[in-house]
Symmetry: C2
Subunit: 215 residues, 2 copies
């Protein structure tokens, strides 16, 4: 029952799938067992034909005239996104944002376990942060091997992002989530995602300013 050709799912669809999973899980918590594309689309703020098209990848879970089985659909989407299993991550840079992420219970709830917290500041090393002991970044390589870590999270200041990335790459992580607000260089086989709050803020200011221009 694996969705076919999942590796061909385009990026925009992946982002919507992430929204669908979020909304479907909230529906499941509320006891919903079957949902049709209309109400799902409305809850996700996406039009219904787009939802049907996206979920065509998971066709076998749609029952004509009835809708999608919520539980099965969640599972199928998770398999295609690769989140039907646990992932272990190391966080580098225990500043405010790092601490916020370490404290963010939703990661663990969704199968992302931050199992190591690293910093090169001697005043932070040894500190307990939400159950993790902050460790010197030099020991990252051993930790990645011993703790089965595959993902690195960079929350350093921008000027230290590349050094953090180099440590993570040397340790052999396969993907990096970079919050640092600086571009980093990695080999082709390693995936990087940049989380930049300004993308969203610029989108807002662009839209608000545009609405003003049209008044």
């Amino acid at each position: 029952m694996l969705p076919v050709k999942s590796e061909r799912i385009p990026r925009a669809t992946i982002q919507r799938l992430a929204v669908y999973v979020q909304v479907l899980e909230s529906m499941r918590r509320n006891g919903v067992e079957v949902i049709s594309s209309g109400p799902l689309a409305e809850a996700c703020d996406v039009n219904a034909s787009q939802v049907r098209k996206d979920l065509a990848y998971f066709g076998e879970f749609g029952v004509r005239g009835v809708g999608y089985h919520v539980e099965n659909l969640i599972e199928a989407i998770k398999v295609s996104l690769g989140v039907d299993r646990e992932w272990r991550a190391a966080l580098v840079g225990v500043g405010n944002l790092g601490r916020a992420l370490l404290h963010y219970g939703e990661f663990k709830a969704r199968g992302f376990h931050i199992v190591g917290a690293f910093d090169c500041d001697p005043f932070k090393i040894g500190e307990q942060v939400y159950g993790l002991e902050v460790t010197c970044t030099n020991s990252l390589k051993d930790a990645v091997r011993n703790l089965d870590i595959e993902i690195g999270i960079i929350t350093t200041p921008p000027e230290r992002a590349q050094r953090a990335a180099d440590h993570l790459l040397d340790a052999g992580v396969r993907g990096i989530l970079n919050f640092a607000g600086a571009r980093i260089h990695v080999p082709d086989k390693v995936f990087v995602e940049y989380v930049d709050f300004f993308h969203y803020l610029y989108e807002l200011t662009f839209n608000i300013s545009g609405a003003e221009r049209h008044r």
Copy 2:
């Protein structure tokens, strides 16, 4: 010297413009005055023809055989994005993520001033957080008017996101940056951007899993 038809710039371009500004500002700090599309493209991890196409909106800043004047290009992109002026924001939900954002100096450095911090938890009200006094969410409306706030930032738990949004809407904000991990309903004239870390994580796990499937 305003870029023409800036309101027609597509969303994907806006996201790249945000990257260009970030990279250009870093170049400016390093004393670079003129840059051609090749090195700019490389620094931004975008191909050069895409950079030239995006910057065609700002054509007058490209000088054939020389490149773009960094200073002027930064200014022109900022005008088109609506960030050539200051924006004032109110943050609702002073948990860990809220605190991290209040402490995040880059916002102010780029013209986004969080001038109010709101929470409905009586144990938090009155607390000083990085120079702001946490205020009861019920007083949001007065603050938005008195402090010229146009943007709301929601950092509440998911189940309180809509209530926070309702307060912000009632107060008359024009855009919302929602970190809460829950969809919110707003009227058409108000813009919402969802910041969801899981979009990025799912993109990573999808790519890593896909690379595995192809081995």
